[in-house]
């Protein structure tokens, strides 16, 4: 899925090394990166240039040459201990200051609850609205993510915003950022979480404050059942495991699935109809399809009956 969905996502480059700066935290992080880069390049030159010079100048000319006797020089030893020490301490301070700023969210930040599960992101807004695999945020206001996982550890990473934090089951972690202008970018899962790890992406949309307010208060989704079903297919994470073009990701592709006979590993052969799909969504273990790992999560409590109907409507159209 990542492959086909990926076409919707881009990380825009800001410089040769780094993505563009999408949040107010980014410039500070990038200054740290640049400092490390300068220090790195400087010391690299300091090592490699003499290296090449010496190798050329002191190359062995006759078989029985030996090097000059080695002297001893305490002053120089101290110099190359103390000077790098001073430099790395500077690096520490710069990194620490940036980190402190990034770890304390300003009071009154707009809070969004993030729930990660294999292999999708669920965002819950204060109004009761929720989205899946699509994070919408208001521009110009500090936004705080309060994050927790339902299963294993995931990682919340928005490269353009320079934020990353693990999403841990059994406890809460958080990140915050302020996005100065409307933009679209990508959220990636950075903590290895299994088969769907590389497909655990979400779209990040920063909207003008007023538009966001309007959007977040409008709770009901609209559209034809098929369209809603298609939306749920991506937003609820079905697409992480089921393709609609026939390729096998984790589970069977939905292409042409409707109405076929499914072979279960307990020997039953059942037709993929309304009941079958409904049951499979709510309790996948009760209908184990042969030839696939039993990893589909139950969506009980996460999909309403109406939404399941919409998914079924959509499924029928995937030929």
């Amino acid at each position: 899925m990542a492959a086909d969905a990926a076409t919707n996502f881009v990380i825009h480059l800001g410089s040769f090394w780094l993505p563009r700066q999408g949040s107010t935290l980014a410039p500070q992080v990038d200054r740290g990166f640049d400092l490390a880069l300068y220090v790195g390049v400087a010391f690299f030159i300091l090592v490699v240039v003499p290296l090449v010079l010496f190798v050329w100048k002191y190359r062995r000319r006759r078989a029985h040459d030996v090097g000059k006797p080695t002297g001893h020089n305490t002053a120089i030893e101290i110099a190359w201990t103390v000077i790098p020490l001073a430099i790395v301490m500077a690096c520490f301070l710069v990194g620490f200051r940036g980190f402190l700023r990034a770890s304390v969210a300003p009071a009154g930040a707009y809070e969004i609850q993030v729930t990660a599960h294999k292999w999708a992101w669920h965002f819950q807004y204060p109004t009761g609205k929720s989205t899946d695999n699509e994070l919408r945020i208001p521009v110009g206001r500090p936004v705080k993510m309060v994050m927790s996982s339902q299963d294993v550890i995931h990682g919340f990473f928005i490269p353009e915003f320079r934020v990353k934090e693990d999403v841990v089951p059994g406890s809460y972690t958080s990140v915050w950022f302020t996005v100065p202008k409307p933009t679209q970018t990508l959220l990636e899962c950075t903590q290895y979480c299994g088969l769907g790890h590389s497909g655990m992406l979400a779209k990040v949309i920063a909207m003008p404050d007023a538009d966001f307010d309007k959007w977040v208060h409008q709770v009901k989704l609209q559209g034809s059942p098929v369209a809603i079903g298609r939306g749920l297919y991506t937003s609820k994470g079905c697409s992480g495991c089921h393709s609609i073009n026939g390729t096998r990701i984790v589970g069977p592709s939905f292409k042409g699935l409707w109405g076929t006979t499914s072979h279960l590993s307990d020997g039953r052969n059942l037709v993929v109809d309304e009941n079958f799909v409904r049951k499979h969504i709510l309790d996948p273990r009760s209908l184990p399809v042969t030839g696939y790992p039993q990893v589909m999560p139950s969506f009980k409590g996460q999909l309403t009956d109406e939404q399941i109907n919409d998914i079924i409507a959509f499924l029928k159209t995937v030929k």
Binding site: F33, A36, R59, K68, R162, E188, Q191
Partner: protein, 563 residues
């Protein structure tokens, strides 16, 4: 460099030393003293054990390398290609686990260390030869279990085994793999214990601590880390297996346990373990630079003590792998602060090596080429460690390809370069044959170029936001991935050429002299290959390990009289 600049091999021109040609009774050495598989499997000779270890770890390297090549081929294309997600996850897990636990941790100490530690201090064997053999058998058992895991369907947790993923249904044969790692840990402990006692108790008369070759200092420091850190890995693996098997709840949040605690346990071992990997490599580099530049190491004591400093500091920084794991800001700050101190003793080493090259007499034979590669690549690897040690920068770089590039630069560019450099350096002593210098230089250059082509683009990938352990990736990353994959083929070519000429040299290489490089440490002062008890008579260390003048002068005189 032309061949005329290198010490000639008397054996090649004139049979001046008939007693050293194989087969005659006088030419008895550790290889032909006894014959048959059984004599190898039951040997207590540290040299034979070292050779068996060498073959074993190189086999592991080959296997891990082949997995890496497959990973790289998959990454030619962003989407589904060649292998499935599940296979990909198993491949990088096994690649990492094999490279770390079966290859790089035992690599230098157990093979070259086993062979040369006793010889360099003028001893007949390690302190506990039986334990030494036992550690090899334990290694084989652990390796066999790891192979079994591969055969019965793999494991896909990443080499870090993070809980609770590793306790879930889709992680594969985790328990078997943790048992294998536990067992391999024992083997590592036994090796370390043996070396500490050997270095303390079995030094030849005159061999004071400061007359020891620097390789021994670094092996000593490594052994300390092995002894102090590995037990913690052991208990971690036991706890993980119990938690997965019986749900005792220690790492499982469902029962109040803490997954982050697992990470603390794991890195408490695995960060010091990166110094188990690099320190022996640094020791080899000291030898290679001194011998092939024929100059006493500049700042011997600083280099010696920096090994100990690295070993000890290494215990204080494990939390730098967990800056974004949800540990407290305070913990992050302390770990970051301490991390930077490790740069200092590492820098001391690098600068002292440079100062040794200055005014040396540098021969560009293969071992030196690898030493120079090490300096180049390790410096890049270490300096990118500074990016990662900076808190705010690591937030962006953590778990991206930047980290992947960092650790390949230090492990492959550092340790592996030192290992193969040392392998070439001591090859004549171990096998009695010379490898082909021309081919060796070719493969050194191929590996150097291929390595940079493979891993430098990964820094760029990582800082641009490409996460690691991704089967599929965004199309805009494809260019750099393709470049990286091409690079990996060049590395592969380099290593396969190496395998070829090394094996060929066993059959048809020129017979090596006692001391082809004009080195001054004790292992070069006995016959090539060495006799079973290393030295026919107890050697006495009268000179330092890097006093080349006399050795080289004597060689020159000898050659003058021979011709």
């Amino acid at each position: 460099m032309s061949d005329s600049t290198t010490p000639a091999h008397p054996e090649r021109s004139a049979p001046a030393h008939p007693e050293r040609s194989r087969g005659t009774a006088a030419g008895t050495n550790y290889l032909n003293a006894q014959r048959g598989i059984k004599s190898w499997l039951t040997t207590l000779d540290h040299k034979r054990i070292g050779i068996m270890y060498l073959v074993s770890v190189l086999t592991a390297f080959l296997l891990g390398g082949i997995f890496a090549l497959i990973i790289r081929i998959k990454l030619l294309f962003p989407g589904h290609y060649l292998i499935t997600r599940a296979q990909y996850n198993e491949l990088f897990t096994l690649h990492g686990a094999i490279m770390i636990f079966l290859f790089i941790i035992p690599s230098i100490p157990a093979s070259l260390g086993n062979f040369f530690v006793p010889m360099m201090i003028g001893a007949k064997d390690v302190a506990f030869p039986r334990l030494n053999l036992m550690s090899l058998y334990i290694y084989w058992v652990g390796a066999a279990m790891a192979l079994l895991v591969i055969l019965i369907g793999g494991v896909s947790t990443g080499w870090t085994f993070y809980a609770p993923f590793s306790e879930g249904p889709d992680a594969g044969h985790v328990i078997l793999m943790t048992v294998a790692v536990f067992i391999l840990g024992f083997s590592s402990i036994l090796t370390g214990l043996n070396f500490i006692v050997t270095i303390h108790k079995l030094r030849a008369p005159g061999m004071t601590w400061f007359k020891m070759p620097l390789f021994l200092w670094s092996i000593y420091a490594t052994s300390l880390v092995q002894i102090l850190a590995t037990p913690v890995l052991g208990i971690t693996m036991v706890l993980l297996a119990l938690d997965r098997g019986f749900h005792i709840g220690i790492f499982d949040p469902r029962y109040g346990g803490d997954p982050v605690l697992f990470q603390h346990f794991f890195w408490f071992y695995s960060h010091p373990a990166v110094y188990i990997m690099i320190l022996p490599g640094m020791g080899i580099i000291s030898e290679l630079i001194a011998v092939h530049a024929r100059r006493r190491i500049f700042g011997y004591t600083f280099v010696a003590f920096s090994s100990i400093a690295i070993a000890l500091l290494g215990f204080l920084v494990w939390g730098h792998h967990m800056f974004v794991s949800g540990q407290s800001v305070m913990a992050g700050a302390v770990f970051s602060f301490l991390t930077f101190f490790i740069a200092i003793p590492s820098g001391v080493k690098v600068f002292n090596w440079l100062a040794t090259l200055y005014q040396g007499s540098i021969s560009l034979r293969a071992p030196m080429l690898y030493a120079l590669s090490f300096l180049f690549l390790f410096t890049i690897g270490g300096l990118t460690g500074i990016f990662l040690g900076m808190l705010s920068v690591d937030v962006h770089l953590h778990d991206t390809y930047f980290v992947v590039a960092h650790f390949h630069y230090v492990m492959m560019g550092g340790t592996v370069m030192a290992f193969v450099g040392g392998l070439h350096h001591w090859w004549p002593k171990m096998t009695g044959r010379m490898y082909s210098e021309a081919w060796a230089r070719l493969s050194a250059i191929l590996i150097f170029i291929g390595f940079n082509a493979t891993f430098f683009p990964q820094f760029i990938l990582g800082s641009r936001g490409m996460p690691r352990r991704y089967y599929a990736y965004l199309p805009e990353f494809q260019g750099l991935h393709v470049f990286s994959t091409f690079g990996s083929w060049v590395i592969g070519a380099g290593f396969f050429i190496m395998l070829g000429y090394l094996v060929y040299s066993l059959k048809a290489g020129a017979v090596a002299s006692t001391n082809p490089w004009g080195a001054a440490s004790l292992e070069w002062q006995t016959a090539t290959p060495p006799p079973t008890e290393n030295f026919p008579v107890q050697p006495v260390a009268e000179h330092g390990p890097y006093d080349f003048e006399e050795v080289v002068a004597a060689q020159a005189a000898l050659e003058g009289s021979a011709s």
